[in-house]
Symmetry: C2
Subunit: 170 residues, 2 copies
C-alpha cells in the first residue's frame, strides 16, 4: 500500500502575526533555561507560518524553499522540546508521519477512513460528544493526539449507494 498524502480541508490561522508570537515563544523557552538556536527558531517559524499541521520531514526540507533546510534529527528533537514546553502538539492522522502544530489554539481532528480527508475543528465543537462519552464511559475523549476516525459525509453516501446497487440485484 502506498503512503497516502493527507490533505487538510480547513484553514487554521492567518499566517500574518507570526513574528510577534514567535518572540513570545522565545521568551517562554528562555524562561525555562532553554536556548534559542537558529535551528530551533526555524522550527518555530515553520509552525507559526503554517496553515495546518506539518511533518518533521517537511520542516527539515524548509517548506519547499520558503525556509532554509535543516537536519531532520534536530527538527525531531526540537519539536520534542517545544512539545515538552507546551508550545507544540503533534497528531497522528493515519498511517503517515506524525504532524506538528502550535498547541494553541487547541484543535481536534476528524479523519475519514476511506478518503483520508481531515476536518479540523475547535475543541468546543466536540464538547457535546465529549460529555456523552464521559456519561457513558467515565472516559474523557480527546481528539487532539489521535483523531476521531470514521466515514465522512461523502464517503458515507457513496457507501449507501453501493449498498443500494447490491440490493437492486435480484
Amino acid at each position: 500500500m502506498l503512503t497516502e498524502e493527507i490533505e487538510l480541508t480547513t484553514t487554521h490561522r492567518s499566517p500574518a502575526l507570526s513574528a510577534t508570537n514567535i518572540e513570545a515563544a522565545v521568551k517562554a523557552l528562555r524562561e525555562r533555561g532553554l536556548r534559542v538556536s537558529a535551528a530551533r527558531r526555524l522550527v518555530l517559524e515553520a509552525l507559526y507560518g503554517a496553515e495546518g499541521p506539518l511533518s518533521a520531514e517537511r520542516i527539515a526540507q524548509g517548506l519547499e524553499g520558503r525556509l532554509p533546510r535543516s537536519d531532520l534529527a534536530s527538527v525531531y528533537r526540537n519539536l520534542e522540546t517545544l512539545e515538552e514546553v507546551g508550545l507544540v502538539r503533534h497528531v497522528h492522522l493515519g498511517h503517515g508521519p506524525g504532524l506538528y502544530a502550535l498547541a494553541a489554539p487547541e484543535h481536534e481532528y476528524l479523519v475519514c477512513e476511506s478518503c483520508h480527508a481531515v476536518r479540523t475543528v475547535a475543541k468546543a465543537e466536540l464538547d457535546g460528544i465529549r460529555s456523552q462519552v464521559l456519561d457513558r464511559f467515565g472516559f474523557e475523549a480527546r481528539f487532539t493526539h489521535f483523531p476521531l476516525v470514521g466515514l465522512c459525509p461523502r464517503c458515507l453516501s457513496e457507501s449507501h449507494d453501493h449498498e443500494e446497487n447490491e440490493h437492486a440485484h435480484p
Copy 2:
C-alpha cells in the same frame, strides 16, 4: 520513549469452540480459491485461540510456545489475505504495532492516552455516541480500526487531584 505494552482489560471470547470455526474459515478461504497452507492455518489458530488482539510478531513467535514459530513476513502476508477475505481486522491502539483479531464479533476500542489501558466494547455500546457524531458532523464514527482515545476514569481523577494540589499553592 519505550514501546509500552498494551494490556487488555476485557475478555473477548471463550477459547473453546476454536476448531469448528477454523474449519468454517478454511471453507471461506477455499471458496475464494485460496490455499490452506500450514502457515495460514497457524495464523488462524492463533487468532481463534486468542483472548484479545495480537501483534504479527507475537503470532510469528508462536505465542510463547503455544504454537510453532513461523516467518514474520508470511504472517503479515497471511493476515493481509485474511483481512481481504473479511475474516480478520486490525486495530492501531497507539504507538506500538498493529494488532489483529477475528473480524466477528465486531469490537470497538477505547484507549487511555495516559496509562494506555484498553477497553474493548461491543459495537452497539457506542451507537449512542455514533448517532450524536452523525447528527453534528454527518460523519459515521468507527472505533474499530482506530480507537476512541482519551483519559480513563482513573487517570482522569488523578489529573483532577493534581490540579487541586496546584491550586492549593498560594
